[in-house]
């Protein structure tokens, strides 16, 4: 059974989340303090973490960084503030997605499903983007024989771009394909993740060759095999 770790200091909200998620068929583990997360995380090894930003003990952004040090588990931040600093801080710490309170529980479950979904192995299991090779079976990215570690979200984002090499993706399109959003939501999510991804896979992130920006529209895949 899929285990979700819910970290929130508000007991009632945590309990309600527990009810909703149990109803959706997940096993739920409730944590109320930021500094209690890591020991439990190591013991339980959850499949996804729902993480509030404002936490006693240790705040959500710090917790997120700690988890990311040795795990690529999907992390969805829950924020009471829609302010840019909070959101960006969470995403830069390694969160895959965030939900601003008060959120629609149905939407929360939908997005969690997208984050939990295993990439289905397709016939074309070898993809290329820029000078990178994507091995969809092994779930790895190889550049010049070196394996680059990516979170599942970053992997999905790269695969989405690589699957349709000619297409220019608007950020809204990426949001719906990779995050499972309907349009007209916050596109900052995309900007931050593209930046993080570039810092991992580009030789020179200032001059991206793998993920190219199309001014005023969005992003597209770099030509496979192009030298950097």
């Amino acid at each position: 059974m899929t285990l979700i770790m819910v970290v929130d200091d508000d007991q009632d909200l945590a309990e309600m989340l527990g009810i909703v998620l149990t109803g959706a068929g997940y096993e739920v583990d409730l944590v109320s303090r930021g500094d209690e997360v890591m020991p439990l995380f190591a013991a339980q090894n959850p499949d996804l973490v729902l993480l509030d930003v404002m936490l006693p003990g240790l705040n959500g952004v710090e917790v997120c960084k700690l988890i990311r040090e040795n795990s690529m588990v999907p992390i969805v931040m829950l924020s009471a503030k829609g302010d840019k600093q909070d959101v960006v801080a969470g995403l830069e710490a390694g969160a895959d997605d965030y939900m601003v309170k008060p959120f629609d529980p149905a939407e929360l479950v939908a997005r969690m499903k997208v984050r939990l979904r295993r990439s289905i192995t397709e016939v074309n299991s070898e993809l290329a983007i820029g000078n990178l090779k994507i091995d969809q079976i092994e779930h790895s990215i190889i550049r010049d024989g070196q394996v680059i570690a990516l979170t599942r979200l970053e992997f999905d984002l790269l695969v989405a771009l690589a699957k349709e090499p000619g297409r220019v993706f608007t950020r809204e399109a990426l949001l719906s394909e990779v995050w499972g959003y309907r349009p007209a939501t916050d596109t900052r999510l995309v900007n931050v993740h593209i930046q993080r991804l570039r810092s991992k896979i580009e030789v020179n992130p200032e001059e991206p060759k793998v993920i190219l920006t199309v001014r005023g529209v969005g992003y597209k895949a770099g030509v496979p095999g192009s030298s950097q």
């Binding site: 309600m16 503030k81 529980p105 608007t170 349009p183 007209a184 001014r215």
Partner: protein, 508 residues
């Protein structure tokens, strides 16, 4: 280095110093030339007086000398004259320089004699002066320029007398005195005058310059400090020395700066408090609202098991929570504007795509009630897409609410630096006189009418604030039962301003 003209225009020091230097130059020039002419006249008069006395005595002596001689022929006469001319008298200050003798026109040919000492050019003595000397019995004088046959010349005074030799006739007798010594003296005096004048002018100029600089320095300091204060460096103060008028200017200035700083920090604190409050309210309200919302949805999901009245209550609960939520969101946005805490996050986007997506979002159904007229090519703009989307969503939702079954026209049009998005409906419209009220918070076009959708009453007010953040404007036209036309115009590039409007709000 600044150009002198600019320095003159912009610096009081240069202007005052320049004026004073020019004035003192004129004054010193006038005084100097007056002094010079008085001194030179005095020196000349003295010399003239002596010269006349000297010449008269020389003439008398010569007259006596001539009277003792007998002249039988020209040779004898010439001999005597040559003797006189060969040894010009060295009387008094050895000042007499030359002597010249001319015989009158009517003299016997054999006694005719014209000559001068040394190699003096006889023409040095003007004809006019000679005529005056001939006619007069008195001693005559004239200032002239001596010329020598070898080309030398110098200033001199010529004093003329007539000599009479009985039995022979009359001769003009000129004694010539050099003015070279006097001219040298005058030249020396002139040099000193120039030197004194220049030195005085420099002294006055420099003194004025430094005094002015000293006076101006605190004023410049005040200007510099004021400028720094304007740019936000509120801790800067003027340096104050002594207790004079300048110091009191400094004290007043610094007091002003202190009170300014206090006012500003008070306002800053208020604004920070406001923002903190908004942020806290946001957090405190949102968490319980999330719980309520989830609870209501759980209840709503199992409404089939409830009695009809309880089931209906669950439905009402859901819809009112949604309304409460959007009201909360709008209120927070409004208070962010009031605290001036709203920040633009500028990106380059294609506004045509943005408008299309917004239309799809607001009205996702298949039957097209919204007609979009837009340029075929992308219209790139630097904007905060979240805010622009919110404005357009608002205008279109408004139009849908009031369209009364008729289609809506959305139009995008651009000029070089501006882009307009017009939303036109042909529905209920509004009284044109209410135009200004439209953007007021919680104002409704017809308070008695039932609301058709869940608008919060803050939408247009927020849209206007969002437009203003972009240096943009929203123009409105409307008429009861003929519809409404809302036009958003924004500059395409960040930091620009609207100079023309591609679409004007009017009937069409």
């Amino acid at each position: 280095m600044r150009s002198p003209f600019k320095a003159w225009k912009s610096s009081l020091v240069y202007r005052v110093t320049g004026t004073i230097v020019v004035l003192s130059m004129i004054l010193i020039g006038l005084l100097g030339s007056a002094l010079y002419s008085r001194v030179s006249a005095g020196i000349f008069d003295e010399k003239l007086k002596l010269s006349i006395l000297d010449a008269q005595s020389t003439a008398r002596n010569t007259q006596i000398q001539l009277s003792y001689s007998k002249y039988r022929d020209k040779a004898a006469l010439t001999f005597v004259f040559s003797d006189i001319l060969a040894l010009p008298p060295k009387t008094y200050e050895s000042a007499a320089k030359e002597i010249a003798v001319f015989s009158f026109e009517n003299i016997n040919k054999m006694f005719r004699f014209n000559g001068a000492s040394n190699s003096l050019d006889l023409k040095s003595i003007s004809k006019k002066f000679r005529e005056e000397t001939q006619k007069s019995k008195e001693t005559q004088w004239e200032r002239t320029k001596l010329r020598y046959l070898d080309g030398k010349s110098e200033s001199a005074i010529v004093v003329g007398n007539n000599l009479v030799i009985s039995g022979v006739g009359k001769y003009e007798f000129y004694v010539i005195f050099s003015l070279a010594q006097q001219e040298r003296t005058m030249a020396l005096i002139l040099n000193y005058l120039w030197l004194t004048g220049i030195a005085l002018t420099l002294l006055i100029g420099l003194t004025t310059f430094f005094v002015m600089r000293r006076l101006i320095a605190p004023i410049q300091d005040a200007a510099r400090v004021a400028e720094e204060l304007t740019t936000g460096n509120l801790d800067l103060r003027m340096d104050i020395h002594g207790e004079d008028e300048i110091a009191s200017l400094g004290y007043s200035f610094n007091e002003m700066a202190v009170s300014l700083q206090q006012q500003i920090s008070r306002l800053e604190n208020l604004s920070k408090l406001q923002q903190r409050f908004v942020s806290d309210v946001s957090h405190e309200l949102r968490t319980p609202l999330t719980t309520i919302r989830m609870a209501s949805q759980v209840i709503y999901a199992s409404r089939e098991n409830f009695e009809p009245t309880v089931a209906r209550s669950a439905e009402l609960l859901i819809s009112q929570i949604e309304r409460f939520e959007s009201l909360l969101t709008d209120l927070l946005e409004v208070s962010r504007f009031d605290a001036q805490a709203a920040i633009l996050e500028i990106e380059a986007i294609d506004i045509v795509i943005l408008v299309k997506e917004t239309i799809d979002y607001v009205h996702p159904s298949q039957d097209r009630i919204i007609n979009l007229k837009a340029p075929n090519s992308p219209v790139l703009v630097d904007v905060d897409p979240r805010r622009i989307k919110r404005i357009i969503r608002n205008l279109i939702s408004n139009a849908i609410d009031h369209r009364e079954g008729k289609d809506i026209d959305v139009r995008i049009s651009e000029t070089e630096n501006e882009v307009s998005i017009g939303v036109r409906d042909y529905g209920s419209g509004f009284n044109f006189s209410d135009k200004k009220l439209l953007f007021e918070r919680f104002w409704r076009a017809d308070s008695s009418r039932a609301r058709t959708t869940g608008g919060t009453g803050l939408g247009l007010s927020i849209a206007l604030e969002d437009a203003k953040l972009h240096q943009g404007e929203i123009d409105v036209w409307g008429e009861r039962d003929k519809g409404a036309h809302f036009v958003l115009t924004i500059p395409k590039f960040a930091g620009g301003s609207i100079e023309s409007k591609p679409i004007t709000a009017q009937l069409n």
